[in-house]
Amino acid sequence: MMKPTNVGSPPAVSAPASVLSALRRLAGAARPQEACGALLGRCEYGVWWEIATIITVPNAASSPEKRFLIPAEIVRSLERAALDSGLQLVGFFHSHPQGGACASATDNALAWPGYLYGIVDALSGDLRFWTLDPDRATLLEVRTTIV
């Protein structure tokens, strides 16, 4: 992927079509629960991300049909797994089993800056990427290129 060179250029993500279709498949298969996992690749956090592959992890939330949770110890092991493959943990994905690929108020409130968040509409397959505006605590949609 071409790295945006202009300072202040809008954040951008590139992902292979195979990754996108895998995310849609996982989202559909997990219904009525939320699927979740990690996005691995290369990135400059908050600026651009290049997704190489995904790792799905069990949803540890107590009500997985409307929440997802990836506990810190799993995040640590995902970081290690990424490093072992020469990649970075660039972000996370989860699905909305009742539809919608926009960030919910819960997603906004719990998001970390810098990471890329993929959200899959488990009904239509709509798939959008978001990142936190670090000072406004709002997830903004990230321009996506399929490679």
């Binding site: 929440r67 640590r76 009742q98 919910s104 997603d107 998001a111 800056p113 810098g114």
Partner: protein, 473 residues
């Protein structure tokens, strides 16, 4: 000194630092020093009251401090603190108790249900033009619970709109349509968000504005906007819900080039200007936009719900006077210049020009030569020597005029007399409020032997849409 490792994503807010060294006795004081040095990190690590946020985990070397002595865990000289996020999120409760009551008649339909209603709530729909069609479209989409509605219209409510534009009340006359529409729709349904845009949809802003919405509903009544909406919808891969009304006739369809034909498959080019009158000239039956606009709203709701039997590939025609419905099957044209297999239109073009006056040699001698507002602006900016004549009344001139471009006021009432001051050799552009009175003046001048006379299409009203300095009235 202990070290704190700042994880990659948080380095954004810590001036790129990946590790800082701090002199601290406990984990708490070490983190306090971190956020003192990098205050932008504070809101992501601590609650307002100062407690560590849930979902923030602190590791001392390889141990989670929760299993040591928490934030009071003491630090040794070579200890390394690592911040590890847990990652969480999820869907909001799909519908609140209020919404469950409000949408209960939808929830009773298995074809909608809770899932469908949640989809409506998540949907983003753009209504282009808040007029006869835009009114029922907006009312029904808002009532049905479409969660995010954008309305774009630069025009103000006129008394002549009230015969059919049911969003507006008499006391709205003179106010911007998009702004009033947004207020009214939010009064109808406070659960949704309505964004008014006081602007015209133009080549320059169409892709950006339409890009923010899932479905585009066209409620305008002019060819340039229709072709603009169509082409931009095709380029963006979004469905375009079409409706059109004139006198007693209405039509509606859904164009979605990803699944069927587009408007250009049906009408490759607009009819010659003047052949198809608009509603202002030819009139329109009061309740007709209610019927066609309701069809557009219905089809929009079905598209959001993902229903299969929409108007994609079908054009419905309604003759209100005789009360007859007809349906035409539409086919995708593989030679379509915008959605065909070898498209020649791959970006937006100048739609005013595309739908505007034909070249001089093809022009009917009785036809009034017109200049679009954007063409006039371009020529003025290029320094063209044009004589601008305003044929409105003095009180209208007081509200807004083109004096800064050298315009002269010659009201139509005395035009035969005052026109003697004009030079037949000059290139003259005549304007009024929306183009009707000036057309009469242009006709008079042509009959008097003036060869280079233009009527400003859409009058000063059209000009004010592209020049923010000119007041809209």
């Amino acid at each position: 000194m202990s070290r704190i490792r700042v994880p990659g994503p948080l380095q954004l807010l810590a001036d790129g630092t990946d590790e800082i060294s701090v002199q601290a006795d406990t984990v708490q004081s070490a983190l306090d020093k971190l956020v003192e040095q990098h205050p932008r990190l504070r809101r992501h690590l601590f609650e307002d009251g100062g407690a560590l946020r849930g979902y923030v985990n602190i590791y001392l070397n390889d141990d989670d401090v929760r299993y040591l002595r928490g934030m009071d865990t003491t630090l040794g000289a070579s200890d390394v603190i690592t911040i590890v996020p847990s990652v969480a999120g999820g869907i909001d409760p799909p519908l609140s108790v209020n919404e469950l009551g409000r949408y209960s008649r939808h929830l009773a339909l298995t074809e909608v249900g809770l899932e469908g209603q949640a989809r409506l709530k998540a949907a983003h729909v753009l209504i282009v033009g808040a007029g006869g069609l835009g009114s029922p479209v907006g009312l029904y989409l808002a009532a049905a619970g479409v969660g995010h509605i954008g309305i774009i219209d630069y025009d103000t409510v006129d008394a002549s709109n009230l015969q059919r534009q049911v969003l507006f009340r008499t006391d709205h006359v003179g106010q911007n349509k998009a702004v009033v529409a947004a207020q009214e729709l939010e009064r109808l349904n406070p659960e949704i968000e309505v964004v008014p845009m006081v602007d015209a949809l133009r080549r320059e802003n169409a892709l950006e504005i339409m890009g923010r919405y899932d479905i585009i509903v066209d409620g305008t009544d002019n060819f340039p906007t229709r072709y603009l909406v169509n082409d931009a919808s095709v380029l963006l891969g979004k469905p375009y819900v079409y409706g059109s009304i004139l006198r007693f006739d209405g039509q509606a369809s859904v164009f979605d080039a990803t699944r069927g034909p587009c408007y250009r498959c049906l009408f490759r080019e607009p009819p010659p200007p003047g052949l198809v009158p608009n509603c202002a000239e030819a009139g329109v039956m009061g309740a007709l936009p209610g019927i066609i606009g309701s069809i557009q709203a219905l089809e929009t709701i079905k598209l959001i719900l993902g229903r299969p039997d929409t108007l994609i590939g079908r054009l419905v025609l309604f003759d209100a006077l005789r009360f007859r419905w007809r349906e035409l099957q539409l086919r995708k044209n593989t030679d379509c210049p915008v959605c065909g297999t070898a498209p020649t239109i791959t970006g937006l073009i100048d739609y005013e020009e595309f739908c505007g006056v034909p070249p001089l040699n093809q022009r009917d001698p009785d036809e009034i030569p017109e200049l679009t507002a954007s063409a006039l602006k371009e020529r003025l900016e290029a320094g063209a020597e044009l004589t601008l004549i305003d044929v409105r009344e003095p009180f209208e001139w007081e509200i807004a005029n083109l004096e800064k471009h050298g315009a002269t006021l010659l009201p139509l009432g005395d035009f035969a007399e005052s026109a003697r001051s004009l030079n037949p050799a000059d290139e003259i552009v005549v304007y009024c409020k929306s183009g009707g009175r000036s057309a009469a003046a242009v006709r008079y001048l042509r009959e008097a032997g003036f060869a280079r006379v233009w009527n400003l299409k859409g009058g000063i009203k059209a000009f004010s849409a592209i020049d923010p300095d000119i007041r809209i009235y």
